[in-house]
Chain length 386, copies 2
Amino acid sequence: MQGLPKKASREQSKLHNYRLVFKAIYDGGAISRVDVARLTNLTPTTVSSNVAILLDEGLVQEVGLAPSGGGKPATLLSVLDDGRHLIGLDVAGHELRGTIINLRGAIRQRQTLALNGGNVLEQLYQLIDQLLANTHNPVLGIGIGAPGVINTTAGVVQQAVNLGWHNLALRDLLGKRYGLPVYLANDSHVTAIAEHTFGSQRNAPNLVVINIGLGIGAGIFINGRIVGGDAWGAGEIGHVVVQPNGILCRCGHYGCLETVASTSALLTKLDASLPQAEPWTIAAIQTALANNEPTVRAIIDEAAHYLGIAIANVVGLLNAQFVILAGSLAQLGNDLLQPLRRSLAHHALQTLVAATDVQVSTLGSDIVTLGAAALLLANELGIVRD
Amino acid sequence: MQGLPKKASREQSKLHNYRLVFKAIYDGGAISRVDVARLTNLTPTTVSSNVAILLDEGLVQEVGLAPSGGGKPATLLSVLDDGRHLIGLDVAGHELRGTIINLRGAIRQRQTLALNGGNVLEQLYQLIDQLLANTHNPVLGIGIGAPGVINTTAGVVQQAVNLGWHNLALRDLLGKRYGLPVYLANDSHVTAIAEHTFGSQRNAPNLVVINIGLGIGAGIFINGRIVGGDAWGAGEIGHVVVQPNGILCRCGHYGCLETVASTSALLTKLDASLPQAEPWTIAAIQTALANNEPTVRAIIDEAAHYLGIAIANVVGLLNAQFVILAGSLAQLGNDLLQPLRRSLAHHALQTLVAATDVQVSTLGSDIVTLGAAALLLANELGIVRD
DNA sequence: CTCACTTAGTAAATTCATTGGAATAAGTTA
DNA sequence: TAACTTATTCCAATGAATTTACTAAGTGAG
């Protein structure tokens, strides 16, 4: 049903330990060679030789001496944060967003391109060209988050209705054009990778990120790995039925989570039930909630109620400790979290609720580009747990 | 938040490749050294030396020559199926079940012990003693599936209310007593391991097994690994709320899946709505369904309806291709599957439904002991994909 | 029947990353 | 200043995989 694992060779071992050393330094902040050896169980000799390579590659630097504890003071090592720059792209519904970040996720450049209705691929080239034109650090590669069904292993966009892409071999196209490593993944999956790499719960082995915007999607880490699904369709949580006889959803069923808890559904509902001169926005909701506007709060509470049911299902199934809300609705913060947590407590086992921590993402609107770039960290530099 | 991966050493490489060779032979049935080399990308020399060890260990045997294809005929290798015997234990609600199986999952011995209300651990010792007394093949170790919250990594039963066990270090106790490797896991998780190792969809990277008996639990494989959860509580699917204002469940909430679709709930319902001289049993349901008894069919259809909703949630979240039903209710076969598939189609995205295959387990009532023994195959012999 | 050819498997020499022990560097403490 | 610590490097040894050469054992053409 599937191939065998890869063989172990000297090269593989070497690469593995090289990455292990890098990761120890990456996680360690400022750490000496001996401490890396202690942490990794590698011998000091092996660590030294790998550190020599890392210094040579410009990925690591020596940053001074540690205070002596009765012997030769240790030379502290740390990652050269801008030793590589990473390109992260977000192919959103109506615009292309691109950022260049360093190895720590610090944003060094940001470009946006509103889609003009023409060839999306050409505009993507244009955006990448712009980003590259303004960078002078060595670029590690290109990471892309896009909506739709994306075969990450093959680097192919199998289906992206909004973009008109069908079986587009995006990885190979970009790889050939720019001569750089390219990785792509579904945008919801990519948000989870962003949280796993740069978020408040980085490195948590089990992590669910719920992305609430025009639709609702989830990205899932289980046992330290992203869940893609057998047909690259994992995380379609927006079409869980939470209201057996609810509103018709664009998917053809009734009462999907998206119809009651997506940002677009809420804005539509507010425009209908509480009309204003301007259409409702997230900012307007925040203001209304600050003023304790009862109708608005009731609508948000209801959405939180249904999100709580959906999250209860997820937590019951996976027992993931961390559930993180991202996307535009996450901006509501505690106004969303509090009713959601109440609903979760009503719909999941007490022990599981106690073992679950629902939070709001701190990564903001760059989450997709950050996650796209993080694909490179994971695949090219091995910044990922086993 | 978590430790670093293990370092790569020569020993590790050696073990890895040794296991790789074994797995290739295990999967290959009867395969030559060269074909193992082709399959694994190992060099013929490396394969030969590992095969020599496997022959010496009595795990593999030479089983004749392949027809020549214009050169020296290949010597075929295959696993010596009874080269090791595995002990699998099922700590069930009211009895202890133990089997001895060989490397292919063939059952060589079966023992049952009805719990007498006394010390469960003592009775477990007794059962193992009996099993060991009647075996003369080398025993690889002991695997255990038990209800409750089980920390597989530590080998500790954290909580098993029915058994009165709390933080019981079962692995170390048994390991010390018998001098054998011991592994334990939650019984629902173990059913998934059984399917993954011996079932019709063995080696499927993503696999969900739904175990329907007194309660409802799930065991999940994602990316080729069992999902334990951060607090060892993954798979608690029985307490998903499917009927917002339903019956009170033992967990304190209302309308849990268990209250409408567990075997016990169905039998209770039948006893109430269609009383008979004898209490209802699965066998009686089968007979009634064969006679197209309308009330019984309606009750089963309703349960299937709710199971379909729960499975739609799972499939939407994980996009696992294979969903396998096990436990006593699975004996109903197509009478359960057909309405369940209809319900699934109504509650999940069409593309996901098309990518999902719901089946009934073929492993029968030995599924837990088989899975428990399979823990040994995975951990001691590496019969598991990466 | 012999010779050229093919394929399977083994043996010996080579490679190279890890290992282990000794040497060196650079401090602290009595 | 001497004794001790701790960090790091140097160097020879190890051992598993690899490479290359070789043997084993068949097929098929002439």
